[in-house]
Amino acid sequence: MKQAAKRLFIIPNALFIILLLIQLLPDKPYRVADYPQYTVALALALEALLLAGSFLLKKDGARHVFTDVMGVVFAFLIFWVLATIKLDLPGNAKQAVFPPPGAVLQKYTVDYAQTLVNIRDSLVLIFRGYLIAVALAIPLGLFLGWNARVGAAAGYISKFLGSISPIVYIPYAIVLLPTFRAASVFVIVVASFWPTLASTMSGVLNVEKRIVDSAKTLCVGRLTMLFRIILPASLPEIFIGCNQGLTISFILLVSAEMIGARSGLGYYVNNYANFGNYTNALAGVIMIGITVTAITFLFNLLRRFLLRWKQ
């Protein structure tokens, strides 16, 4: 009983109630149609999620992170509603640029098919480019790191090439490659290749000597040494580079799509912004955030699974 009360009387729940209550405040005169029912629906859905999470998550640490995040989301929604339609702020003159959450949510209900197509188009490019880069960089990094002599030279070269921002390749790639999609994949490959290669090489160099010795005394062959010993031993460090590569890939892809694509999330945002439709543009921005967060979350699950042997 006490336990339940402790999980119920938390700040995020209070913020949920505040979010509902401020809906009752009178709207300021407003040019873009608002749909407060969508804001309320979202608030209810989030609250259901919050309650489920705060009673189902067993570990204290995970539950606290979850409720804290939900609290921030509610606080942000409250701020958003107040700033756009309830309070008389100086920026309200540009209401069309800052639509309220209800208006943005309504776009998803109308536009979800198009949004999903754009998400899919962006993700296909990301995965193609990223998987090619990782599939090339990890074996090459293992080989270069393991053969110290070649590796030392390769280390300097990759530092030089990796320090060039892949953004500079975008115009060249768009001109040189037949399609925009090919150009995007190319840029993503280049962008995620270097950090993955660098972290793999450094991971190999940092493998503990006693692990290598232990494998040597077991007379492992070359391939077994590389893929069953060196690869897992350097995996924690490899993941750092893979994570960097993934982040850079998203940033670059969205930028590239804003420049030259005819589909994808970056295109969606840019296209609507060009037509002055900021409600859709904002919907796209939020969708990018959600997509990246979801991919990062899945990526972390994969990492946790593959590194489950680590303390």
Partner: protein
Amino acid sequence: MSKIEVKNLCAEYEDKNGDFQALKDVSFSVGDGEFLSVVGASGCGKTTLLGVLQGIITPSSGSAFIDGLPITGPGTDRAAVFQHYSLFPWMTARDNVAFGIKQAKKGLSKRERHELAHVFLKKVGLSGFGHKYPFQLSGGMQQRAAIARALAMDTDILLMDEPFGAIDAKNRSNMQELLLSLWEGDGDTKKKTVLFVTHDIDEAIYLSDRVIMLGGSPGRVAAEFPVRFPRPRIHSTIRKTGEYGSLRNKLMALFYEENNGLAEEEYTI
């Protein structure tokens, strides 16, 4: 012919300020099927010596032979238990043992390897722990899993570096019995030659056919003692004999004599 032959072996480590000599002119041999213990103070080069025999340290001069052939690298005729736990952290205890089996014994199916791994984990008292990763095991359990891996490989030669150091008295005595029974070879395993490094003089006497004392820095062979108690030995019985007492005293005296200067240097506060 002796199984292992070490001749005028010198070993050096590269250091920031020149080379550090760890072993100097070490010569001895181990007969086929012999159980030889190596004792000596900390830092006298026991691990270095095993490293040479494992084929992971190249001697600076002199050489080591197995079956008359010079050692040029690691071989599946030898299994090693390292002083510091040498399990692969990303494999479960069972997979670690099975991996060793796979390397040493070709032609077993995956299932047979796993079953054999289970048998040996059971022998070292870890039957319920096969699915655990090394980080989930205590230090002594990790060491026993590493021992299980070496024993399961069923090699001609066992090179063991303080294998029972982290293990409690009761498990330790079980492990000693296990080691002796596998050394002699039961139905499933062959008779082995064992080179066993330990700090425990009683353990060395109880287990070995012969004890070698390394001493000094750089390390060299200070003395060699045959241990003539008939087997099977019973700890409590041989301990009461005068022969045991005099052997033990000789070893202890030599140990202190050899490491007099060393000990004072190290422990001055």
